[in-house]
């Protein structure tokens, strides 16, 4: 036991030594520190088992995931907060320069960032429409139909497909102005100038449609599971009492589905907040930044100017905003579900 603890301490000491040595002598890369961390994790595991017996064996279940997540999330996030305060252009020779809150003030004055945040609000609101469609599809699949399995597989398909490939083939090809079938159809229906991505509002809607196409199946499947778990007696009772299908839906099905709906919508919103790849590939933010999500804006900010410092500041501000927002959302949803039931 003592040996294990000693070894553990020794490895920690070695690790600290590495870190100080990097400053003074300088390793080629920081990779030794990564290996040291892994060894240290193993040592902790062995130490736990040896010193605490059965309890240690239990702790061993949790340790790998915990150590992994801490190394991969906590440390980079803290590091991120540090680089957010620097002026660091990766392609220039001068390296990083500490510049305090300059990035922060620059961010507050950045109209494109504010626009991207505003777009996120719009994109998140679009989830409600997606929810309505997904609910409708779930009801359809839950109805007494033939070939249910076939339709379920088909409806699930869009979720499986790579958003990048989809945004090329749908966003850039089917919705192409001159020859795309969607444009042809729009012309046929009387829209004379079907340019899906040239004016800001249409472009935003097109992005929402593309994103909805990919993710509606996700909500649909969750809602379908909810519908199938619902007890038949309640519906039966409603019918015996003479309720029309419309009344049954609004007074029985919908309230009973509320918890599942809330889970589905919240998960969907969380995914929506990460929206980037479709925008990057289809419009790359255009026209004039009108369709930018925060993620795609930061991506371009880095690609165009390779300024890590400013990009990270934007990302960190975004992180703070969505943590506050999601916490509020969870609280609100909890209270909402409790109030209705």
């Amino acid at each position: 036991m003592a040996v294990a603890t000693l070894g553990l301490l020794a490895i920690i000491a070695v690790q600290i030594l590495y870190k100080t040595e990097v400053d003074t002598i300088g390793f080629e890369t920081w990779r030794p520190v990564v290996y040291a961390y892994m060894l240290w994790g193993v040592a902790i595991g062995i130490g736990q088992v040896l010193t605490r017996g059965e309890d240690g064996q239990r702790a061993l279940f949790l340790l790998p995931a915990l150590l992994f997540t801490i190394a991969m999330v906590i440390f980079p996030t803290l590091f991120g907060f540090y680089i957010a305060l620097t002026d660091w252009n990766l392609s220039s020779i001068t390296g990083r320069k500490f510049n305090g809150l300059d990035n922060f003030w620059q961010m507050l004055a950045d109209p494109y960032y504010r626009n991207a945040l505003f777009n996120m609000v719009l994109y998140v609101l679009a989830v409600l429409v997606e929810y309505a469609i997904a609910f409708g599809l779930a009801l359809l699949l839950n109805a007494q139909i033939r070939a249910r399995k076939f339709f379920r597989v088909v409806f699930l398909m869009p979720l499986m497909l790579s958003p990048v490939a989809v945004s090329w083939m749908v966003g850039k090809s089917i919705m192409e102005y001159r020859f795309g079938p969607a444009a042809t159809l729009a012309r046929y229906l009387g829209w004379e100038n079907p340019a899906f991505f040239s004016d800001p509002i249409t472009a935003r809607i097109s992005i929402m449609v593309l994103d909805a196409w990919t993710f509606i199946p996700f909500m649909m499947i969750m809602l379908l599971a909810g519908l199938q778990a619902m007890s038949r007696e309640v519906l039966e009772a409603a019918r015996v009492d003479g309720a029309t299908p419309w009344q049954t839906f609004w007074q029985v099905t919908f309230p009973l589905m509320l918890p599942v709906s809330v889970t589905a919508v919240i998960l969907r919103i969380i995914f929506k907040l990460k929206l980037a790849d479709i925008i990057i590939t289809v419009t790359s933010g255009g026209p004039g930044g009108a369709t930018d999500s925060v993620s795609s804006f930061i991506y371009r900010e880095y690609r165009d100017r390779s300024n890590v410092g400013y990009g990270t500041m934007l990302a960190m501000a975004y992180l703070v905003i969505i943590v506050v927002f999601v916490t509020w959302l969870l609280k609100f949803a909890n209270r909402f579900v409790r109030n209705v039931n």
């Binding site: 890369t29 990779r31 239990r58 702790a59 061993l60 279940f61 949790l62 790998p64 995931a65 992994f68 997540t69 991969m72 999330v73 980079p76 996030t77 590091f79 991120g80 680089i83 599809l137 359809l140 109805a143 007494q144 139909i145 249910r148 339709f151 597989v153 409806f155 699930l156 398909m157 869009p158 499986m160 497909l161 790579s162 958003p163 990048v164 490939a165 989809v166 090329w168 083939m169 749908v170 090809s173 020859f179 499947i221 599971a225 909810g226 199938q228 778990a229 990460k274 980037a276 790849d277 590939t281 993620s295 930061i298 991506y299 890590v308 990270t312 990302a315 975004y318 992180l319 969505i322």
Partner: protein, 305 residues
């Protein structure tokens, strides 16, 4: 899934006419949405057999509107006449394809291993790490889900440069593991909760250790859940674009990045683009059709109590 919850005999009795109208509406809506889901796939596959003229004129139906041509697939070195010749494009494509396979399988496996262990521990034992209890630890893992990739992307860019993991598959695997870990833990926690504790208690009485009980008794029962989590993780990793675009350049580039970088100097070669997109979509489409049951199981875990 075979449970039928709506009862159409009742409405049938009410009035045959409205029953027929009802049927027509339901199947109409189903067919309409099936068309919306399938048309882009159809378009992608047919476009890969078109020549330039067919693309710009928006031809739709092969053999009627246009003569299929292997042009798109030839440009990837995958058409019948070019498949046995050496082709740099094909090598490039296969390399990207293998990168995608290795990173997504690697990351999913790693996430399944450490995720299932953690989920099992969290459902069976009580932990205290400093002031953290089980609920706090679970919340810590699940809260990773809201972390947007963009927050980690730039710090990781810098860190990976320092550690020499930039543009490597290992680097991508680690990040993807992190990305899918909360989902795996979510699914597996649900799965382990549904297994009665008595099974393990019996195993412990019979002289197995905690870990022995886990591997011999619990794992086999939880296998379907693991498959479900694995497939869902695979799908997410295979389609991931953001990290791959930022953190890889020549060696570890994955299929989505290759798809996204297909613009040539003379505009887009739609036929080769479509062939590439088809190749990027095909593996998951096959998985989706064959293992749909597990996918649904993974997505609905914990949704319905």
């Amino acid at each position: 899934m075979s449970v039928q919850t709506t009862d159409y005999t009742a409405s049938e009795i009410r009035s045959p006419a409205s029953f027929v109208a009802n049927r027509v509406f339901i199947y109409g809506a189903l067919a309409f949405w099936a068309f919306i889901c399938l048309f882009p796939i159809y378009w992608t596959i047919t476009t890969s057999f078109k020549t330039a003229v067919d693309v710009t004129q928006g031809h739709l139906i092969p053999f009627v509107d246009f003569q299929p041509d292997w042009k798109g697939w030839r440009s990837l070195g995958l058409s019948p006449d070019s498949i046995f010749r050496t082709s740099t494009v094909r090598d490039e494509f296969l390399k990207r394809f293998m990168n995608s396979v290795i990173t997504s399988v690697g990351a999913s496996s790693l996430a399944i291993v450490i995720g299932s262990l953690a989920a099992y521990g969290l459902t069976r034992y009580r932990y205290h790490f400093a002031w953290f209890k089980n609920e706090d630890i679970s919340f810590f893992f699940l809260s990773q889900l809201i972390l947007p990739p963009v927050v980690l992307a730039l710090p990781f860019l810098v860190l990976y440069r320092e550690v020499g993991l930039l543009d490597t598959r290992i680097g991508l695997i680690l990040l993807y593991t992190l990305m899918v870990l909360p989902i795996v833990i979510w699914i597996m926690r649900d799965q382990f909760n549904s297994i009665p504790v008595e099974l393990e208690e019996a195993a412990l009485v019979d002289g197995l250790t905690i870990w022995g009980a886990f591997f011999r008794i619990v794992m086999p029962i939880a296998l379907p859940g693991m498959v479900a989590a694995f497939i869902l993780a695979m799908v997410l990793c295979w389609n991931e674009y953001f990290f791959a675009a930022l953190l890889t350049s020549t060696d570890a580039k994955t299929i989505p990045v290759m798809v996204a970088s297909q613009t040539g100097s003379q505009g887009i070669n739609w036929w080769s683009m479509a062939a590439l997109a088809t190749a990027a979509i095909a593996p998951l489409a096959v998985i989706g059709i064959a293992l749909e049951r597990y996918l649904i199981m993974g997505m609905t875990a914990g949704a319905v109590k």
